[in-house]
């Protein structure tokens, strides 16, 4: 029996910006992400974390190397196919929430479902409400995004990222703009969805405390993977 393709596989992934004066941000990334993983992506500013996240999220195109999402080579996909794959496979949580200010919390959560067309309205509302209830915002569904606190907005963003039931959620500094207590709550929420739904998370963070609570830490330096450690391995290192 053939082995199932990993959720994400990158092979020698590179990214260079600029036409005349070029800057190579990623210098050959080899990475495999399996379903259900809770992975922290750490490293100093400019190490290429967000660029890698954008490439995996199909928001940007690599300059070289291969990127496979559930076995599909991203290079072979046109813009529409990338959008469809992104919509169904990937969820995003951004540092600054990036909710649509003209819409209510419920509508923000519904948008990824709505964008796929053909789904019954009632079902979409039901699904958005259930997720908002799961992130503790049952009472805030009708509030406009701008009327919610930072922590609440981030929880709406998490509900939006999960509404399509994607196997992978990419979170770029999800707690970076929140106070310590709210940040801890948001991280706990991500961990609970990882445990209960089996959703894999890649969390870009500068915060060591956040990284420590993940199952795997990929540390990047200067556009390369410097270290890739799992919790079990870390425990052994600590024991020694």
């Amino acid at each position: 029996m053939a082995e199932a393709a990993p959720l994400v596989r990158t092979e020698g992934l590179t990214k260079t910006y600029g036409d005349h004066v070029t800057t190579t941000v990623l210098k050959g990334i080899d990475l495999v992400l399996e379903p259900g993983e809770l992975c922290a992506l750490t490293g100093p500013s400019g190490s290429g974390k967000t660029t890698l996240l954008n490439l995996i999220g199909l928001l940007d195109r690599p300059t070289g190397g291969r990127l496979l999402i559930q076995g599909l080579d991203a290079r072979t996909l046109d813009d529409d196919a990338r959008t469809t794959l992104r919509g169904r496979t990937l969820g995003f949580v951004f540092q600054f929430h990036h909710l649509l200010p003209a819409f209510s919390a419920e509508e923000n959560v519904m948008i990824p479902l709505f964008a796929q067309h053909g789904r019954p309205q009632a079902w979409m509302h039901e699904r958005a409400r259930a997720l908002l209830a799961a992130v503790g915002l049952a009472e805030r569904m009708g509030y406009r995004a701008t009327d919610l606190s930072g922590g609440e907005q981030q929880r709406v963003a998490i509900a939006r990222a999960l509404v399509m039931e994607p196997p992978l959620v990419l979170a770029d500094e999800p707690t970076g703009n929140l106070d310590t207590q709210t940040g801890a709550q948001v991280l706990e929420l991500l961990r609970s969805f990882n445990r209960e739904l089996g959703t894999a998370f890649v969390i870009v963070t500068h915060d060591e405390a956040v990284a420590e609570r993940c199952d795997r830490i990929v540390h990047m330096v200067d556009g390369r993977v410097d270290s890739d450690t799992r919790v079990s391995e870390r425990a052994l290192i600590l024991e020694k």
């Binding site: 954008n54 813009d79 959008t83 992104r86 995003f92 003209a102 964008a115």
Partner: protein, 405 residues
């Protein structure tokens, strides 16, 4: 509700001030177009109706008499000077057959035989030059509704009854039941009784035109059994030139359209239409630039949101549709507002300036076609103006706009 419509509506609603301002801009623009079109069309219709209230679409007359040289040697003709003879009133040869042929000609609604010629109207010491128009009132009414011009008496042309204009009646001091003598080229005077008085709202026509029966005019001009012209009403007012051409080809007679007889008027009408079109084109251009600029600003303002929509699974085509829909909705809503503004302006203008009889000095033509055309133009302008901003929005790189806004 489709996804794109949902987003587009919310964006328009969210940017209330921007949306309101551009709607007002489109509304005023479309309002000006409607007002101007209604006014100019109304004015032109009124002028054409007045012209055609006293003139047929086409007049058919016998060919003019030309001298013929009788020399047997063609070389001798070189020394001959030909002079046009004075034109006398003649009948159209075989006019009944010609009338039957014209009745069957496509584009012809009605044909009326008439006898026209100059005469002198005498009463007491007063004598005035007049133009006799002999006709069968039933047949003639289908070509020109002269009966609606009657202001006194009845339109009775039987026997020696005549219907005269207000000005002639005034100058000769004659009213309904009064008598006047009519003289034509060397013939004895004929006494006519005034049965009715008409008003063409044209001093010259009111002074000169005298209606008598067809038979009476035939006798006055020695044209027994004949007619000097056939007057025609067509289906298309501005197709009169083409109709006259066709009649000329079919009959070999002189056929003159109202357009040929009123060349200066037509040039005036066309100049008016051209200036109206120019104004409308610039108004449309201003509206288009207004919509395009509002949407272009909206695309820049919402760049990050577009990136988020793209990140959460919205296709580029959907983003394009969102902005096209906004353009279309602005165009449609703006044109509805414009219809209200234009209609109100036109009606107000028509009510402000009126003739003594209560009819508007500047009649306005507010038609369904004008409204449909305005909505169509505004919708098209809205869509076309939205193309560039919509394309720009769809081409945005999600990663860049999410990062930089």
């Amino acid at each position: 509700m489709p996804f794109e419509l949902f987003i587009a509506l919310r964006y328009l609603k969210d940017g209330r001030l921007q949306t309101g301002l551009i709607l007002a801009g489109i509304g005023v623009g479309v309002g000006v177009i409607i007002f101007l079109s209604a006014l100019i069309t109304g004015l032109q219709q009124s002028i054409v109706e007045r012209t055609l209230g006293s003139q047929p679409f086409v007049v058919v007359r016998p060919p003019e008499e030309m001298p013929r040289a009788l020399a047997s040697d063609p070389a001798a003709l070189n020394a001959v000077e030909t002079q046009r003879p004075p034109q006398r009133i003649r009948s159209i040869t075989g006019w009944e057959q010609v009338e039957a042929l014209l009745q069957k000609t496509p584009g012809v609604v009605a044909v009326a035989p008439t006898v026209s010629g100059p005469a002198i109207a005498v009463r007491g010491e007063a004598a005035l030059a007049i133009a006799i128009r002999g006709l069968d009132i039933e047949a003639y009414s289908a070509v020109i509704d002269v009966r609606k011009r009657l202001v006194d008496g009845v339109f009775n042309l039987s026997g020696f009854n005549a219907v005269v204009g207000t000005e002639l009646a005034r100058k000769l001091g004659v009213g309904v039941g009064g008598r006047l003598r009519i003289q034509t080229g060397g013939k004895p005077e004929t006494v006519y009784t005034v049965a009715g008085v008409f008003d063409y709202r044209n001093t010259d026509l009111n002074e000169r035109l005298v209606f008598v029966s067809l038979r009476g005019a035939q006798t006055l001009f020695g044209l027994e059994g004949g007619v000097s012209s056939l007057e025609i009403r067509g289906t298309e007012i501005f197709g009169a030139d083409a109709l006259a051409d066709e009649i000329r080809d079919r009959t070999g007679l002189i056929a003159e359209s109202w357009m040929a007889r009123n060349g200066d008027l037509l040039v005036g009408l066309r100049s008016q239409s051209s200036s109206s079109v120019m104004i409308q084109v610039f108004v449309i251009l201003a509206v288009a630039l207004g919509i395009a600029s509002v949407l272009a600003v909206s695309v820049v303002q919402k760049a990050r949101e577009i990136g988020i929509l793209r990140a959460t699974g919205t296709r580029a085509a959907s983003v394009t549709r969102i902005f096209l829909l906004q353009g279309a909705m602005l165009g449609t809503l703006g044109s509805l507002l414009g219809i209200a503004i234009g209609t109100a302006l036109a009606l107000l203008f028509a009510r402000l300036a009126t003739n003594p009889d209560g009819s508007p000095t500047f009649p306005v033509a507010l038609t369904g076609w004008l409204y449909a055309r305005s909505v169509g133009v505004a919708l098209t302008v809205g869509l076309v103006s939205a193309i560039v901003p919509a394309r720009d929005a769809a081409r945005m790189d999600p990663a860049t706009v999410i990062r930089n806004g």
